[in-house]
């Protein structure tokens, strides 16, 4: 009896199930077995090597590069901890950093309820985020009014600058993108061709050339006395670039709405503006929300290019710290710095892409009959 029960457990219990699973998924054939072993070897090598670099051989304490100059040293973590303020806020003066933190809190207060599907009041939150918050945020961060000291944009940098460029880029490119998408579908030939021309030209050139154009040519386009803040030039370039891509995403949404909606709106006697604002755009935008989030992820990654025109976003300021701060020179400084920047970017982008997938599933689920 006991033997029977025992062998039954051996055949169907958790150990048996695991063995079966292993056999089916990892070792199902000779080829697969070899592949599995190779993969295991790769994973082992990578994990052990990384753990050694990041934890076991790493330097955790020190006040300058000489601490990390030991032979066979791993990551130089003091470099990151000492420069954390610089990486997060750029050269924004220390006593004023609470203003940036307050801006973050205000932004999250609007974003988090907006992102959770079940929370009501999405329209008000959107209006808050798109109109009220930018003004408050701008005043807080730039200063110059009330009692807040003015902080020139040359001092903005690090992760803060990355977020500024990305969010201003996407918010500013929204209205332009919508107009371009609508214009592209217009029946008026000139409107359509102007929009197509703009979209195709901007999508066909690299962002680097658009940034060069904005930073080098924009001052030439203006009357001599008017000078343009460097950050503003970059923002204009990024916004125009993003608008063209966003226009294509929104166009997909406009095409995805059944024709009947347009016709019904016309039949009801709504003007073009009323039709678009009340009937078409809400549906179109809802359709392409995952596409919009993906655009934002791409824009977030593209903000790192502003280092080429001399702005110090997270990547730019890490790179500058690696190459100009002689105090921290050591063989592992660069690797540690790049790894840190990479992790920060990865956390942001991966979270956003997970959220986008979640949204996609949720919204598609609603549409399935």
């Amino acid at each position: 009896m006991a033997n029977e029960a025992h062998s039954k457990w051996m055949d169907t219990g958790p150990i048996a199930r695991s063995v079966d699973w292993l056999r089916a998924n990892l070792f199902s054939s000779w080829g697969n077995t070899v592949l599995t072993l190779i993969c295991l070897a790769i994973v082992w090598y990578v994990i052990v090597g990384f753990a050694d670099w990041a934890i076991f051989s790493a330097v955790f304490a020190g006040s300058d590069g000489s601490a990390c100059n030991k032979p066979d040293a791993g990551a130089c973590w003091p470099f990151v901890t000492h420069k954390l303020g610089l990486f997060m806020y750029g050269r924004y003066p220390d006593p004023e950093r609470w203003r940036i933190n307050l801006t973050y809190v205000l932004a999250l207060a609007g974003l988090v309820p907006l992102m959770i599907p079940r929370v009501p009041g999405k329209l008000w939150l959107s209006i808050y985020l798109l109109t009220v918050f930018p003004i408050i945020g701008f005043i807080l961060v730039r200063g110059g009014v009330f009692w807040l000291p003015h902080i020139p944009t040359e001092l903005w940098g690090g992760l803060f600058l990355t977020l500024v460029v990305a969010s201003v880029g996407i918010v500013a490119s929204f209205p332009i993108g919508i107009l371009l998408a609508l214009g592209r579908r217009s029946e008026l030939p000139i409107v359509r061709w102007v929009c197509i021309g703009f979209i195709e030209v901007v999508r066909g050139v690299p962002l680097v050339t658009v940034l060069f154009m904005a930073s080098v040519m924009l001052p030439l386009f203006l009357p001599p006395e008017v000078t343009f803040d460097k950050l503003l030039r970059a923002l204009i370039g990024v916004a125009l670039f993003s608008a063209a891509y966003l226009a294509e995403v929104i166009r997909g949404g406009l095409q995805g709405i059944p024709r009947g909606q347009y016709e019904a709106a016309d039949a009801l006697g709504l003007s073009y503006a009323q039709k678009m604002v009340f009937i078409v755009l809400p549906q179109a935008l809802k359709l392409v929300i995952p596409g919009i989030v993906n655009s934002f992820i791409a824009l977030f990654k593209d903000t790192s290019l502003v280092l080429i025109i001399g702005l110090f976003d997270l990547l730019g300021i890490v790179q500058q710290s690696i190459s100009s701060d002689a105090k921290w020179f050591s063989p592992q400084t660069a690797a540690t710095g790049y790894f840190f920047a990479g992790v920060i970017f990865w956390i942001f982008c991966f979270s956003m892409s997970r959220y986008s997938a979640f949204l996609e599933r949720r919204l598609a689920g609603g549409e399935r009959r």
């Binding site: 001092l155 001052p219 030439l220 001599p224 000078t227 001399g310 190459s323 100009s324 002689a326």
Partner: protein
Amino acid sequence: MRHATQILTAAALGLIAVAIASQAQSSTLDAVKKRGDLRCGVNIGLAGFSAPDDKGEWTGLDVDFCRAVASAIFKDPTKVKFVPLSAKERFTALQSGEIDLLSRNTTWTMSRGTQQGLAFVGVTYYDGQGFLVKKSLDLKSVAQLAGASICMQTGTTNELNVADYFRTRSLTYNPVVFEKNEEAVSAFNLGRCDAYTTDASGLYAQRIKLADPSAYVVLSEIISKEPLGPAVRQGDDQWANLVQWTLFAWLNAEGLGVTQENVDEKINSGNPEIRRLLGTEGEYGLGIGLDNDWAYQIVKNVGNYGQSFERNVGKGSRLNIARDQNKLWKDGGLHYAPPIR
């Protein structure tokens, strides 16, 4: 229809008129005074010439010159806004009006002074292009670098000079160019190239950043003339004169022995040259739109040229560059400033 066309034509003409009207220039000095600070273009970070320290304060020889101009105008050396510029954007920034004065270790060449709308007003540092190599290579002249990889920054006269040097001697080399100086130094540090070339002053400045500065040596052969000096926009003579005579006053102060420490007593000196310099006699500030004590303010707030040199790039600094050709003419160097009279 007709009404629409008329209105639109009028609007277009109006726009054109506005565009033309807005081309009127105002004097740079007036604009600077109205704004309340001097916008000075400087290097993003070149030790000894213009670099921000940990607290964000700018120091360096070029920085001191900007402060000298600001002292002359505002009697306050802190009324300067420093605009860090890369090699790529330095000229456009000056041309477009973003900055009033470019004090960024820029070489005075004919094409820059005539074809690009810039006006150089003098030389703050007589430099030349040199090469930084490993001591262990035991090189004596630049020609021995045939076949080597040479790191340098793009968009500079350095690139052109190296090409000329090797081509005229029918030697080959491998150029490795980077946008930023730091990247070039970084690559040189990692061994990507055998030599790093830039103006000799820059070599000393960058050497202190290397992993082991004592393992590198600056070759004694200098392959070009690189007179570094401040630049202003063409077309504003009064402003150009102001900047030029700030430089000359700086040099003359050292020649007359007026320092930051003794300038207050030297006001009452009997030497007529010192009296004219510091404004006790004469009305030399009038011609450049400033008060007569403009030179006194310069020396009081920034010191004379020699003091600034030693403090930033000379014996009092990590660079420890010898004055050599940057001495005054009477000491055997090249600096010769016209008299203030």
